[in-house]
Symmetry: C2
Subunit: 343 residues, 2 copies
C-alpha cells in the first residue's frame, strides 16, 4: 500500500505517463507531459486539448469566492494551458457536480462568469454534463484550441543561452489568498465585523479570485513574429515551473532575484504578513502568467515590452538550477509549493 | 430561490443552452444539445468532443464496483457519445479527484481499466489532471473523435416513416444494479455471508459494471453504406431517449413493446424482483446501446442483423408518442428515470 502523498502529484502523473502505451491514433501528435495535448487538425494548424478540475474545499472556498468569479476562473485556467502552447482557444465544455444546496440562481451566477470568460477569450461553450453531487461543487472544464504548426511551443525545446522571460507580475495571487483567508478567520471569530479589505487590495484579490489568461501575449508574439523556444504557464509557482521546463529541456538555469516582477501591492501585503514577497513569487502559484524562453537575438524585440520581463538565462548544465542575488549569493531553486490551492 | 430539482437536469441544460451566445468561432459547427459537440477538422471530417463526469455516491458505489471496471466504464460511456454521432473516438483526457483513502495501487487499478478501454476502442490517453478531493472519487473524462462529414448523424434529423432501431438488448444494466444493491444490503445485514451472485447473473452485472460502447455498429453501418437519419445513445432509458429524438426532430413515434429486445437473464431477474422487464428496458438506463432511425428502404439491409432490432416507426404528429401492445392497447411513452445511477 503506497500513499499518494508519498509519491506526490507529479510522481503520480509520471507513473501514469510511463504506463501509457504508444499512441494508436496517427492523429495523436503529443500526449501527457505538456500544458495541453496536441492532435492533427489540418494542413497548417494543430489542435490542442487541455482539462482542469476545480473542487470545492480544495481549489476554492465559497465563503469568499463569488460564483461569477469562480466561473470565470474555471475557464481562464484552462485557456492559460492553451496559451502556454502558443495557441488560442476555440471551444470549451463544462461539467458541473452540484450538491442540493445550489439553487438555479447560483448556477446562473456561475454561468454568467463562464460566459463572461467565453466572451473575453472568444471561445464557444459547446457542451458539458451536469449531475448531482453529494459533496459540494465540482467544476471540470476541457478546452480546445488551435496553433499554427510553425508556432507550436513545447516545454522541452529550450536551449542553453536562451533568455528566460515572464509576463506580468508574480506572487499577487498567493498574497490575495492570504488576505481572503485572514478576513475569513476574522469574520468567523466576529461575524458582526465589517470587512476591512481596502480598495488598494483589490488587485491582489482579483489576481486570486478572477485571474486572466495571457492570450494577449500570444497575439503580440505573433505580431512580432517571435516564437518562444519553450513555454509553460505559471500555475504552481515560478520555481516549480522553471524546473519543469529545464528538466524536460535538459538545461540548467540562472534566475536573478531582483528581476522577478512583483507588484507594489504584493510587496506591501507581504510586509504586513511578515513573509517574503520573493518567496510568494517563487512558490505561491496561481498567477497564470506565461514563463517562456527565447533565443538571445529574439529577445532584442522584447526588451522594452511593458508586460514581459527577462529574469535569467538557461545554461548547458542540467544540475545548475540557481537563483542569484544582486550581492552575488546563489541559492538552489526548489519546487516547494506552499500547499496552496494550486489548480 | 429556485431548486434545481424543481426544473430537473434537462430543464437546467435547456436553461444553459438558451442563454448561450451565438458561436464566436467559425470552427464551431454544433454546440450544446446533441451527444457530442462538433467542430471543424479538415476537408473530409468533422471533429467531435464530449465529456462525462462520474461521482462517487452518485454514479457508482465502491462497495461493489471494482476500480478496474470503473475505469473501463468511465471511458466507455464517453466513447458511446461519439458513437452516437456515427463517429469513432481518437483521444481522451482523464481528470481524477482522489480523497486520501485512495492508494497508488488503487489508482493503478483504475488506470488499468482506463487503458484496457483505450486499447479496446483504439483511443489514446493524452492528458488530464489529478487533484486531491475532500469527498471521494471524482472522474471526469473528455473524449475527442472524428466522423466523415457525409456520415455525421444528429438527433434532430429524423423523419416521419423512419424505422426506429436499437442495438443489443435493454434493461440488463438496471437489473444488474438491483442485484448488486441487494447483495450489498444482505452483506451489510450479515457480513459473514457468502455472495450468492451466480454465474448466470454475470451478464447482468457486466452490463452494469463494465458496459461497452457500440463502436462495432458504427463500423458495420459504414461497411453497409448506411447512414442513420438520427441517432442517440441510451444512457437514460429508451423512453427518455426516443422522446429526445422525437422532440428535436419534430416527429411522433409508435413503438411496439413486444419488439423491444430484452435478454433472458433480464426477464428472469425481473421476475425474481417482481418488476416488469419492459419497464426496466424503457426506464432503466445505462445500457449504452444505440437508438437510431433509418429510412424504410435502408432498413432492408439491416433486417436480418443479429444485433439490430426494429422496434417501431416515426410519425408526422409530434403529439403521438406511443407504446403499442400486441393486443392493440396504446400507452403514452413517459421519460421517467427510476432515479438510478444514470450517467
Amino acid at each position: 500500500m503506497t500513499t499518494i502523498d508519498s509519491i506526490g502529484e507529479f510522481g503520480l502523473i509520471d507513473r501514469i505517463r510511463t504506463a501509457t502505451e504508444t499512441p494508436q491514433q496517427p492523429g495523436t501528435i503529443r500526449g501527457i507531459g505538456d500544458d495541453a495535448a496536441v492532435f492533427a487538425l489540418n494542413d497548417t494548424e494543430y489542435g490542442l486539448i487541455s482539462t482542469d478540475m476545480l473542487l470545492e474545499g480544495i481549489h476554492f472556498d465559497l465563503t469568499y469566492t463569488p460564483l461569477k468569479h469562480l466561473g470565470y476562473k474555471a475557464v481562464a485556467v484552462n485557456v492559460s494551458d492553451i496559451a502556454a502552447m502558443n495557441g488560442l482557444p476555440t471551444q470549451i465544455t463544462v461539467s458541473l457536480g452540484l450538491s442540493s444546496r445550489f439553487t438555479v440562481e447560483a448556477v446562473d451566477e456561475l454561468y454568467a462568469g463562464i460566459r463572461a470568460a467565453c466572451a473575453a477569450y472568444k471561445v464557444d461553450l459547446v457542451g458539458g454534463d451536469t449531475t448531482a453531487s453529494r459533496s459540494g461543487l465540482v467544476i471540470s472544464v476541457s478546452v480546445l484550441g488551435t496553433v499554427p504548426k510553425d508556432r507550436i511551443t513545447y516545454r522541452n525545446t529550450a536551449q542553453p543561452n536562451d533568455v528566460v522571460c515572464v509576463t506580468g507580475d508574480l506572487g499577487a495571487a498567493y498574497l490575495g489568498l492570504q488576505l481572503l483567508e485572514r478576513e475569513k478567520q476574522e469574520y468567523l471569530a466576529n461575524p458582526d465585523m465589517q470587512p476591512s479589505l481596502s480598495e488598494e487590495r483589490a488587485y491582489l484579490m482579483q489576481r486570486q479570485l478572477r485571474p486572466d489568461a495571457r492570450t494577449d501575449i500570444v497575439h503580440e508574439l505573433r505580431d512580432l513574429d517571435i516564437t518562444p523556444t519553450a513555454m509553460i504557464d505559471i500555475s504552481d509557482g515560478l520555481s516549480s515551473e522553471i524546473l519543469h521546463l529545464c528538466r524536460q529541456s535538459g538545461t540548467g538555469v540562472v534566475l536573478f532575484d531582483e528581476n522577478i516582477p512583483i507588484d507594489d501591492q504584493a510587496h506591501l501585503a507581504a510586509t504586513e504578513f511578515g513573509i517574503s514577497a520573493l518567496t510568494a513569487a517563487l512558490n505561491g502559484g496561481e498567477d497564470y502568467e506565461l514563463l517562456f524562453t527565447v533565443r538571445p537575438q529574439a529577445f532584442e524585440a522584447l526588451k522594452n515590452h511593458a508586460r514581459i520581463t527577462a529574469i535569467g538565462y538557461l545554461t548547458a548544465d542540467p544540475a545548475q538550477t540557481i537563483l542569484a542575488t544582486r550581492a552575488g549569493q546563489q541559492t538552489r531553486l526548489r519546487a516547494q509549493g506552499w500547499g496552496g490551492t494550486g489548480a
